[in-house]
């Protein structure tokens, strides 16, 4: 390659190594769940099956770790359901709720109503004013005796349909997020009578669903996907309080989440499954589906903590296809067996975590001036990405080493759930599935963790001896 061609390749490939969710129609999307070994665990198929086979509306949970393709799979779920003729509203709750605070049931019901209304306004082809969605929402708020001046802009908006929609949805997003007095008034109004607010909200959503499906086949359902609930988290100081509020919402108040007339899918944090093994009982006819990290190695033998499980060729091939859809990776890593070996090394280093794999590739592209990249550049890029996850506190290292050995969470006590959630959020721990879920420390930091834990153990032994 000439220098100009090298530059051209680096630029093009780098720009295709994007980190955001993909639509299933995107050429870069690879249907990993079509793989024989993954087909039975396809979360989208499991969610769809529950919706299509239950005569009554379902409420289901889906969980996935950051960067494993959860948002992409939710988009596939939307497409699959729409292709079946259902009306699907995909709502990002983060647009409507502050995710840094404890989840209050009153806030959540209002956020749900606002988010679904916003999605309805955005999804209908016609003028939302003519359809009366906003008027009905305003009536709901009046009925529930909480005013929202932010809505006025949307209701009064004129102009082309796109402008009206944009203005209206922007107003909806402000109601709860940027208006503490609204929350205060709402919580004050419904203190001690949450059931009454839930009844109003349920009635409103049922009516909205009836409007959306008016005149269509009664078998066609309205499915509401509420994304990003798992992003609700506190600071280090109040993480436990925030998590307790979410747990309460999905257990004690789970009946509020079963909206009549619509099927609902909520994304939740994986720790809910870890802490509440019986969480499925609160959400019958579907329960909680976890989108695991793609397993690139077999589970290691717990009696031999130093040994890794064997690489899984099918998974490596599948992920190689994902990379291939992004660009001609062999220019970067080399062609033939040697190049593929380097790609496999990267895939194994990523632990099957796609976002981390993309990050590793991007780091090599950024660093290299030659194609294929030299071993020195390759190693420097891997080390650089590894260092981003370091340092690790001693007590964390000890816990992580135990996870690496046992392939379980080794949760020492319930009050350590926020710390476990932190491990999962930062990919220090990855979740895989072999029938049951199992856990492992991210391969990039595994050696460092084991080394640090051994050093801590030695120090403790020495201190004890002296």
């Amino acid at each position: 390659m000439t220098p100009a061609e090298v530059t051209e390749f680096r630029t093009t490939f780098f720009r295709r190594l994007t980190l955001g969710p993909l639509e299933p129609t995107d050429p870069q999307y690879v249907p990993l769940y079509e793989l024989e070994e993954l087909r039975n665990d396809d979360p989208v198929e499991l969610l769809r099956f529950a919706i299509d086979t239950n005569p009554t509306p379902t409420a289901q949970l889906v969980s996935g770790f950051r960067g494993t393709g959860k948002s992409t799979e939710l988009r596939r779920l939307r497409k699959v359901l729409r292709d079946s003729g259902h009306t699907v509203l995909l709502c990002d709750i983060e647009d409507y709720l502050n995710t840094g605070q404890a989840l209050d049931p009153v806030d959540f019901l209002y956020a749900f109503v606002l988010a679904v209304s916003g999605a309805a306004v955005e999804s209908v082809g016609d003028d939302p004013l003519r359809e009366g969605y906003l008027t009905r929402l305003k009536n709901f708020l009046t009925r529930t005796q909480v005013e929202a001046p932010e809505l006025t802009a949307g209701v009064k908006a004129t102009g082309d349909v796109g402008a009206v929609k944009a203005e209206a949805t922007a107003g909806l997003k402000l109601v709860l997020k940027d208006n503490p007095s609204f929350k205060e008034r709402a919580r004050d109004r419904w203190k001690g009578s949450l059931g009454s607010l839930a009844a109003e909200a349920h009635a409103y959503i049922r009516e909205l669903a009836a409007t959306l499906t008016k005149g269509s086949d009664p078998k066609r359902r309205v499915v509401i996907i509420i994304d990003s609930i798992e992003h609700i988290q506190g600071t280090l100081d109040d993480a436990a309080k925030v998590q307790a509020s979410i747990e309460k919402m999905f257990t004690v108040h789970s009946d509020l989440l079963h909206f009549p007339g619509v099927d609902t899918v909520y994304t939740v944090h994986p720790y809910l499954k870890i802490k509440y093994a019986n969480i499925d009982d609160f959400f019958p006819f579907g329960g909680l589906q976890i989108i695991p990290t793609l397993k690139v190695r077999e589970r290691g033998d717990p009696t031999k903590p130093g040994e890794l499980g064997a690489p899984r060729k099918n998974a490596l091939d599948a992920i190689a296809r994902v990379v291939e859809q992004r660009g001609d990776w062999w220019h970067l890593l080399g062609s033939g067996d040697e190049g593929r070996e380097r790609l496999d090394t990267l895939i194994l280093a990523s632990g099957g975590h796609l976002r981390d794999l993309i990050r590793l590739l991007a780091e090599i592209v950024r660093r290299t001036r030659d194609l294929p990249a030299t071993p020195a550049v390759f190693d420097a890029a891997v080390n650089h990405v590894r260092n981003q996850a370091l340092p690790i506190a001693d007590d964390d290292a000890e816990w992580l080493a135990e996870i690496a050995r046992s392939h379980t969470t080794c949760l020492p006590s319930e009050n350590k759930v926020p710390s476990l959630a932190r491990f999962l959020d930062t990919h220090r721990v990855l979740c895989y599935r072999n029938g049951n879920e199992w856990f492992d420390v991210h391969p990039l930091i595994r050696a460092a963790v084991l080394e640090q834990a051994a050093a801590v153990k030695a120090r403790k032994a020495q201190a004890k001896a002296t």
Binding site: R66, D92, E94, T99, Q233, R355, R366, R369, D425, T426
Partner: protein, 327 residues
């Protein structure tokens, strides 16, 4: 505190390598990208901000800077969100490097994590968060979603102090950056010049422009004396500018061509204005700011008596104007 535009301030090797990564990020990225720059000293980040600003100027964009003193992260975030919504290709640079800034970073990162969609949806350039190294863990834990979307992480490791007895306040100024005026005196530039220029020429012939640029940056960081031939210095500046020009970093190239003119009166001015303006406009288009800048430079050149003196560059077979086809 402003970005250090003075090109005579150079970074140590490790920081220079990190800058090379950030430099390439500006070239490679298309659309929104997020960078974290962790540093315990302020000099290197300031130098990088200055260079980034120059690089962006060359592309017709800006480096827009915010700093918070530990008390107003909310206001900064609010302004940042507004800037992001403008949808420009500018780089939004948020910096707070004092030790007291850590609690404010915690608050800022958590709130920024909530607003990350605004950046991803509207902003078309970089967002660079410049924080003390101790903040790295905070970034991962307080803003896991933001952290998950990072495109680049630059970590500037401060070299160990070279002397004792100085207070903490004095130390950060030296870390990561060094000025030739303050550096060890001697004739290091002269000693390194010949073989460096030979290597630079070899690298450029092999189209290894980046390697040549790094060599030149290192050369220019070395101490110079009154006796250092100014033509040598000017030639090295010009060669550095040539590398930058070929890498598309036109703004830095102009700065360094100017340095070459400043440092050597023997430059052939009848040639110089033509090559640079043509190349500059070919690369960047005739934006108003570049035209004005060029006009102002030409006026300075034309009014300088020194530029009509001497002819070393014209005579020299390997002089920049002869070897690079600037004409």
């Amino acid at each position: 505190m402003t970005a250090i535009d003075d090109p005579s301030v150079f970074l140590d090797d490790a920081s220079e390598a990190e800058w090379a990564l950030l430099h390439d990020q500006f070239d490679l990225a298309d659309g929104f990208w997020l960078g974290f720059l962790f540093s315990d000293g302020w000099t290197a980040p300031r130098v990088m901000a200055g260079r980034a600003a120059g690089k962006l100027r060359g592309k017709g964009h800006r480096l827009r800077e915010w700093r918070f003193d530990g008390t107003k992260p909310d206001e900064v975030l609010s302004e940042l969100v507004s800037a992001a919504k403008e949808g420009t290709h500018d780089c939004l640079w948020v910096e707070a490097l004092s030790r007291e800034a850590s609690p404010a970073w915690g608050e800022f990162l958590m709130r920024a994590n909530e607003r990350r969609e605004v950046f991803a949806r509207y902003h078309r350039g970089g967002l660079v968060l410049v924080a003390p190294r101790a903040t790295k863990v905070l970034a991962q834990e307080r803003s896991p979603d933001l952290w998950a979307f990072r495109s680049i992480v630059v970590e500037l490791v401060a070299p160990p102090p070279t002397s004792t007895g100085e207070g903490d306040d004095a130390r950060p100024e030296r870390e990561g950056g060094q000025s030739p005026n303050k550096a060890e005196s001697g004739e290091r530039f002269e000693a390194a010049y010949q073989w460096t220029m030979q290597s630079v020429n070899d690298s450029i012939r092999a189209e290894r422009i980046d390697a040549a640029r790094v060599l030149l940056l290192r050369l220019m960081a070395l101490a110079r004396t009154e006796q250092t031939p100014r033509a040598w210095v000017a030639r090295a500046w010009a060669r550095l500018a040539e590398c930058e020009q070929r890498q598309g970093d036109a703004s830095a190239a102009i700065d360094h061509y100017q340095n070459a003119l400043r440092d050597c009166s023997e430059v052939d001015v009848s040639v110089a204005p033509t090559w640079s303006s043509e190349v500059y406009w070919a690369v960047n288009g005739p934006t108003r700011s570049t035209q004005e800048r060029w006009r102002s430079q030409q006026e300075r050149l034309n009014s300088s008596d020194a530029l009509t003196e001497g002819a070393e560059f014209r005579r020299c077979a390997t002089c920049p104007s002869a070897s690079t086809g600037w004409r």
